[in-house]
């Protein structure tokens, strides 16, 4: 029984990380119908940016003081993620906009590989897995489970991660539905040409979308590093695929769907790894199976609109 609850807790934590990435995927897709394959790498770059801030910028005496270290590292991660995403949008995707559909996807693949390799080659020591500072109070929350078998253990950083992720998602939803720029984003997503006629600058909207997505991914990257205690260059590809699956499962283009999809994927991974045949060596495979099944049988996802047939 404890195992089940523990795995559910783990699944929710993983879901929170995936959700932070999936929001970026779904926003970009909603607006320019681009699968930004390199978005997972933005998450990875954010983690390395956070680590660089901690190692090279943060003065020694503040390192153990989480009230200073955690915000500083988060800001570092976000800044690096956002810069990466803006450069990527400006130089890789914008020139191809309005062109054929597969070109940006191939470009995105190229960007993804290049970013991964750039970090591996130029970040000191990144050829191997790097240690990441804990950044938050040690210790954990223990919830007793009736029937014996021990407690469910959740470290505080994981709890913080889940809370931050949910707050950010709610905040993003409010921003998109209430603010002026949010309205411009929704207008562009619905009909870019008409939005342009109404005075919306599509370039600004698209850059803003990339910035918002990258900021969330940066937060995700730092928090992921903090609770895993290690980071490596593969983390972006793996979690990026999970996040893409989550975004598709929830209905790509839908913010709420992305978050719910992310929690579903988190649970599928941990519970599938625990209870399905093959154990946790095959948990990855189950996610891909879900991805294929959703794309084939319900490509509009749980919350998306049925895809319009092309005119």
């Amino acid at each position: 029984m404890t195992t089940l609850f523990q795995q559910i807790a783990n699944g929710i934590v993983l879901g929170a990380v995936i959700g932070l990435i999936a929001l970026g995927y779904t926003m970009v897709y909603g607006i320019i119908q681009l699968i930004n394959f390199a978005h997972g790498e933005v998450f990875m770059v954010g983690a390395y940016g956070g680590l660089a801030t901690y190692t090279y910028i943060l003065p020694e005496q503040f390192r153990d003081d989480w009230q200073i270290a955690l915000p500083a590292v988060l800001v570092g991660g976000i800044v690096i993620s956002v810069i990466t995403a803006v450069i990527m949008e400006r130089f890789a995707y914008r020139p191809l906009r309005g062109g054929p559909r597969l070109a940006p996807l191939i470009t995105a693949l190229g960007v993804s590989v290049a970013l991964q390799e750039a970090v591996r080659l130029f970040y000191p020591g990144a050829t191997a897995t790097l240690a990441f500072p804990p950044l938050f109070v040690d210790g954990d929350l223990r919830i007793p489970v009736p029937g014996g078998g021990g407690d469910v253990v959740i470290t505080w950083i994981k709890l913080l991660l889940v809370i931050v992720a949910v707050l950010l998602a709610v905040g993003l939803q409010m921003y998109v539905s209430r603010s002026r720029m949010g309205r411009a984003m929704r207008a562009t997503a619905q009909d870019a040409d008409t939005a342009k006629l109404m005075g919306v600058n599509p370039d600004r909207v698209i850059v803003l979308t990339f910035i918002l997505g990258a900021a969330l991914a940066g937060v995700g990257g730092v928090m992921y590093g903090a609770y895993q205690n290690t980071i490596n260059i593969d983390m972006g590809f793996q979690n990026g695929i999970f996040a893409f699956t989550a975004a598709v499962l929830g209905g790509i283009g839908s913010l709420r769907g992305a978050v719910i999809g992310a929690f579903c994927i988190g649970l599928i991974k941990t519970l599938g790894g625990q209870y399905l045949p093959g154990g946790n060596q095959y948990d990855y495979v189950w996610i891909f199976v879900v991805l294929i099944l959703v794309l084939v049988f319900r490509p509009e996802g749980l919350f998306g609109e049925p895809e319009k047939v092309r005119a």
């Binding site: 119908q33 699968i35 890789a92 020139p95 191809l96 309005g98 062109g99 054929p100 559909r101 597969l102 070109a103 940006p104 996807l105 191939i106 470009t107 693949l109 190229g110 960007v111 993804s112 590989v113 290049a114 970013l115 991964q116 390799e117 750039a118 080659l121 590809f237 695929i241 893409f244 598709v248 093959g278 060596q281 095959y282 990855y284 495979v285 891909f288 199976v289 991805l291 294929i292 794309l295 084939v296 049988f297 490509p299 895809e307 319009k308 047939v309 092309r310 005119a311």
Partner: protein, 581 residues
């Protein structure tokens, strides 16, 4: 016809190109560096001709002299397509000068390579190259030169024979240029790149003169003859300088990837379906062959003859191709790409975890016996007519055969009913359907054919490497293959071969930069999509769409030049770019 736009007065252009060519020739004879490389005393350890060596024209100095003299001759004589030729020559000169300057700077000489003296060879050459290119553009680039192809067949055959022999020489020289890369040979990188610059410059000049398109049209007119001669040339490679064990291995590896890239081209280039998990089929073929080879770690304790095992591998891979292709019935565009990626990842994960005991997990299946025919192991060396050929040459012959078979399949399919259906699907799936093409069947067939070819290549790959590990079939390998196809030009056979060669020769030559291999591939994908989406050697019909020449190579009217466009199969995008603009 395309207009000639010149912004230089004819006399200025003449002065620029003559001065440029002379500067190149002067630079060729001057010293390039004043210090010693390779931490040894000059001249014993300094193997590059960077020093003051008048009249000792070899290596890159010889290449520069040839380019310079050619430029001078073209600059003075009125040749058709003069400025196009000069542009090619000029870029070749710039490439050679830039490579050596970069190397000298990197090795510590600093720009201009001045250490207790002055050496202006590289500067003079670089400026000369730039002047030539400026003169070419300023003088106004002419439209492509069109040479007539009407001639008696024996003249055409002779021309083709000579050109293919030249091609063989070029391939052999390129392969061996700079020698084997590695710690012992720090010059292999710059020498190779400089040779590529030279060859590229010459080819561009020939192209400018209209000779390359002319030869390609001639070979179209004499298909059967060209194919026989090309095959002969490929088989003759071991008899050239490249006939050592090392280069044969490199060539054989290139061959395997070229065959796989052509298979991928069926799916991506012809049908326009992006397949991101294609290398899995190579893997399936390899693992099937490994399990039927009688290796100790194989699941089945049987040893089948290679031919049978290869056929089984191809069939199994084809079946999996149909399975992976089946979602195409419901999924389109980039969603389909993601589905194929998911299948690819499932394959890697399953292979890593030794699914069903078939892959031996992370231990791999080692010790596959070499293929043998008539009691002769393919890893042994052979003697043909007094010439002793190195070991590995039989594998090279086998792989040439494989590439030829794959090419034949591809070319025949492309010109068949199903091939035209694929191209129609690539261009517009809904219209293709309306025209009565069974799009579902056609797409699954494309996946099956592509997978079968990869399975066949995988079987050869397995025996050649003698070890099969899941590591060889990861996602990045799929990306590399895709990069090869896109770099070379989608749906184009020479493009796929050229792309595969570049992507596998470059890391071999630039060992000190081999770390940067994947970084380069990633950036290359981005840059190609941005600047040359049709690839290096575009398919002629796609070329007609993208560059503004009709399939015969004659230029079209400029207003007809469409914007570059790729297969457009997205579910929500509208009409093609041309109509949208």
């Amino acid at each position: 016809m395309s207009r000639v736009t010149s912004w230089m007065r004819p006399v200025h252009a003449l002065a620029f190109r003559v001065v440029g060519a002379v500067l190149v020739l002067i630079g060729t004879l001057m010293a390039w560096a004043t210090f010693v490389y390779n931490n040894g005393a000059y001249p014993a350890k300094a193997t590059l001709q960077y020093f003051d060596a008048p009249f000792a024209l070899n290596s890159f100095r010889l290449h520069l002299a040839i380019l310079g003299i050619a430029a001078l001759a073209v600059a003075l004589a009125p040749v058709p397509g003069r400025n196009r030729i000069l542009r090619g020559l000029g870029w070749g000169v710039i490439a050679i000068a830039a490579v050596h300057m970069a190397f000298m700077t990197y090795e510590g000489g600093g720009l201009g390579a001045i250490a207790g003296g002055t050496a202006f060879g590289s500067w003079s050459t670089l400026v000369g190259g730039i002047l030539i290119v400026l003169a070419a553009h300023g003088g106004g680039l002419e439209g492509p030169v069109h040479l007539p192809t009407k001639m008696p067949f024996y003249v055409a055959w002779l021309v083709l024979l000579v050109s293919f022999a030249g091609l063989l020489m070029l391939v052999s020289r390129t392969l061996t240029a700079g020698g084997q890369g590695g710690v012992a040979n720090p010059y292999s990188g710059p020498l190779f790149l400089s040779f590529v610059g030279y060859a590229g410059g010459l080819l561009a000049a020939l192209h400018g003169a209209g000779l390359l398109p002319w030869i390609s049209r001639l070979s179209e007119g004499h298909r059967a003859f060209s194919i026989v001669v090309l095959l002969g040339c490929a088989l003759a490679l071991p008899f050239t300088d490249a006939g050592t064990e090392y280069w044969m291995t490199v060539a054989a590896n290139i061959g395997v990837y070229a065959a796989t890239a052509i298979g991928l081209n069926v799916v991506v280039g012809l049908t326009g379906l992006l397949d991101l998990g294609y290398v899995a089929f190579l893997g399936i073929g390899a693992f099937v062959a490994a399990n039927l080879s009688g290796a100790a770690a194989a699941r089945f304790d049987i040893e089948l003859p290679f031919i049978v095992a290869a056929l089984i591998a191809a069939v199994v891979a084809g079946i999996f191709g149909a399975i992976v292709g089946s979602p195409t019935l419901r999924v389109r565009g980039d969603y389909l790409a993601i589905v194929t990626l998911a299948f690819g990842e499932i394959f890697v994960r399953s292979a890593q975890n030794d699914i069903g005991g078939l892959t031996n997990g992370s231990n791999a299946i080692p010790g596959l016996p070499p293929i043998s025919l008539f009691g002769k192991g393919f890893n042994e060396s052979i003697t043909i007519g007094g010439a002793k050929l190195p070991s590995g040459v039989l594998y090279y012959f086998l792989i040439v055969l494989l590439v030829a078979v794959v090419m034949a399949v591809f070319a025949n399919l492309k010109n068949s009913r199903i091939g035209r259906a694929w191209v129609a699907i690539r261009e517009d799936e809904d219209v293709a359907r309306a025209m009565g093409i069974r799009t579902g069947q056609a797409k699954i067939l494309a996946f099956m054919v592509g997978a079968t070819l990869a399975g066949l290549a995988g079987a050869v790959f397995a025996h050649k490497l003698s070890t099969v590990s899941y590591e060889s079939f990861k996602f990045l390998e799929s990306v590399t293959l895709l990069a090869a196809v896109i770099l070379g030009g989608m749906a184009s056979i020479p493009g796929a071969v050229l792309g595969a060669s570049l992507l596998f020769v470059l890391p071999e030559k630039l060992r000190e930069f081999s770390e940067y291999r994947l970084l380069m591939f990633g950036l290359a994908l981005v840059l190609i999509m941005r600047f040359r989406p049709q690839g290096l050697v575009p398919d002629k019909h796609r070329r007609a769409e993208l560059v503004g020449e009709d399939p015969e190579g004659k230029p079209l009217d400029e207003s007809d030049v469409g914007q570059a466009h790729l297969p457009d199969v997205g579910p929500t995008t509208g009409p093609t770019t041309r109509e949208a603009t």
